[in-house]
């Protein structure tokens, strides 16, 4: 479904990604893990078209995306739950969610239907739909960011460190939600520093270090890999 080939990205003269290649197949959960500053966020931004790579190519559903702008990519079915959530603080929960459907057309019926589905998944958002999003706790903001991404009815959902700053109990709930979405057939690209949780739900995973992919394999292979255990799981 998604293929990234030979991606190189620079911030000024500093390389952030060097010849990164990987793929996500339909229906998979793929984890992209690695330490701070490895280039994970950069990778997701390039996939959504927020950054232009120096070289390399992103293809979605066999189509090369080239320099296509973000709003076009959202329309074609890519959604991102960004690092830092980036919800709209001075808007209500419902306005935030409606904006999630902004790029894909604004047929009232359809937006209604999707709202109901998001509310069914996160009843807490329904209870607080008239509240300003800026007043929310970290966990609630994360739910809202996920709900907002789902409003575009994406084929591929990308999440950038969704567990960051959340209490363990909230992380468990979050991962339950992700697995539920996966069972419904959603394809997920999951960026995490919470390596254990991510590899547990992932079908496959890639390890990114200093802008290059150093390991890849199935979720359970990587969980049992010596190098991963030493470096990331501290066993």
């Amino acid at each position: 479904m998604l293929a990234v080939e030979g991606l190189s990205v620079f911030y000024g003269d500093l390389p952030a990604l060097r010849e990164v290649s990987f793929e996500v197949r339909r229906g998979e959960v793929v984890a992209l893990i690695g330490p701070n500053g490895a280039g994970k966020t950069t990778t997701l931004k390039v996939i959504l078209g927020l950054l232009t790579p120096r070289s390399g190519e992103v293809s979605f559903e066999r189509k090369k995306l080239g320099r296509e702008p973000s709003y076009q990519r959202v329309r074609e079915g890519i959604a991102l739950v960004p690092e830092g959530r980036r919800i709209f603080p001075d808007m209500t929960v419902e306005e935030n969610l409606e904006l999630g459907a902004y790029a894909v057309g604004n047929h009232r019926e359809q937006v209604r239907e999707r709202l109901e589905r998001v509310y069914a998944l996160f009843p807490r958002l329904y209870e607080r739909r008239r509240q300003l999003a800026g007043t929310f706790s970290g966990g609630e903001q994360q739910m809202l960011a996920i709900g907002r991404a789902l409003m575009s009815a994406p084929k591929l959902l990308m999440l950038d460190e969704p567990s960051l700053g959340l209490a363990p109990r909230v992380i468990d709930a979050l991962y339950d939600h992700l697995q539920a979405l996966h069972r419904e057939g959603l394809t997920i690209l999951l960026v995490e520093q919470f390596v254990y949780g991510a590899l547990e739900v992932a079908d496959r995973g890639y390890v990114l270090e200093r802008g290059t992919i150093v390991r890849e394999g199935t979720g359970s292979d990587l969980l049992h890999d010596d190098y991963i255990q030493r470096t990331y799981l501290a066993l």
Binding site: L50, P69, S70, Y71, V74, P82, I87, F88, D90, Y102
Partner: protein
């Protein structure tokens, strides 16, 4: 009180543009002067009726807004807030100077050697239950309320308005949900510049303008925006009313020469004690 309507009208499009695109348009007041000039040309020298010439101004300046967006906004839209602010101040300051020089020169040469823009109404006063009211000022106040109402509804309830607010609150967040910032800024400036020019035409119903008053108008607008809070349209209305009252009181008690000083004093007090403005949100 109606002076407040005039001040609100000077400020509100500046406020919207600043809040949604972070562009500070120093040429704002000069665009008002140009609107007033075109309205004067159409009514006084070409004999069009007032409503028709207002429509003419709206059309011409909608095009001007498109051009303004393409030249002054689009190239810097993706930059950081601070860069946008500084670049736009410098660029539009140049634009303001260029426009007022050209206007002053060619108006004096082709139309009237002593440029002054003003419009008049057929019936300057009406009487309601023995009280004489100025039609111009009533009309201006009504226009200010309606125009601000229209902008408020557009921003609150239309897709493009919601996208504009999203861009103002979190630029990258808006890109992520699939907002096309170019389309939004095009809409904001087409509508905004058009309304700015109409506001100029309404303004000269009460006080005539000359070609070189644009930057002063921008300054007054900025004071109103700071008083009311950037991006808050009810704030622009309130700030306008407040400034109108201050001016009326200053003129009554100390003399009209003091009003710029009073304005700056109010600006200073607000910046010190309530930097987000009276009705501005957090931040």
């Amino acid at each position: 009180m109606t002076l407040g309507g005039v001040y609100a009208l000077i400020a509100f499009t500046l406020s919207v543009a600043l809040a949604t695109t972070h562009v500070l348009n120093v040429a704002h007041g000069t665009l008002m002067v140009l609107g007033a000039a075109l309205a004067t040309l159409l009514t006084r020298f070409m004999g069009l009726s007032l409503p028709l010439s207002v429509l003419g101004v709206a059309g011409c300046f909608a095009l001007m807004g498109l051009l303004f967006d393409a030249v002054f906004v689009r190239p810097i839209l993706h930059k950081s807030r601070e860069t946008i602010l500084i670049t736009s101040i410098v660029a539009t300051f140049g634009l303001a100077l260029a426009m007022e020089t050209l206007l002053g020169f060619y108006w004096a040469r082709w139309v009237d050697p002593e440029p002054s823009f003003s419009l008049s109404l057929p019936a300057p006063h009406i009487e309601v239950r023995g009280i004489v009211l100025s039609t111009q000022r009533l009309l201006i106040f009504a226009y200010a309320v309606v125009a601000i109402g229209v902008f408020h509804l557009v921003l609150k309830h239309t897709p493009v308005g919601k996208a504009a607010r999203a861009l103002a609150q979190d630029y990258e967040g808006a890109l992520i949900v699939g907002v096309n910032p170019r389309a939004v800024s095009r809409a904001i400036y087409t509508l905004g510049v058009s309304f700015t020019a109409i506001s100029g035409a309404f303004y000269v119903l009460t006080v005539p303008l000359d070609p070189y008053q644009g930057i002063w108008l921008t300054l007054v607008a900025l004071i109103v925006v700071v008083i009311g809070g950037v991006g808050s349209l009810p704030g622009a209305l309130l700030g306008g009313l407040l400034l109108g009252m201050i001016q009326a009181l200053t003129v009554f008690f100390v003399g009209s020469g003091w009003s710029p000083i009073m304005f700056l004093l109010v600006l200073f007090l607000i910046l010190v004690f309530r930097p987000q403005g009276l009705l501005g949100g957090r931040r």
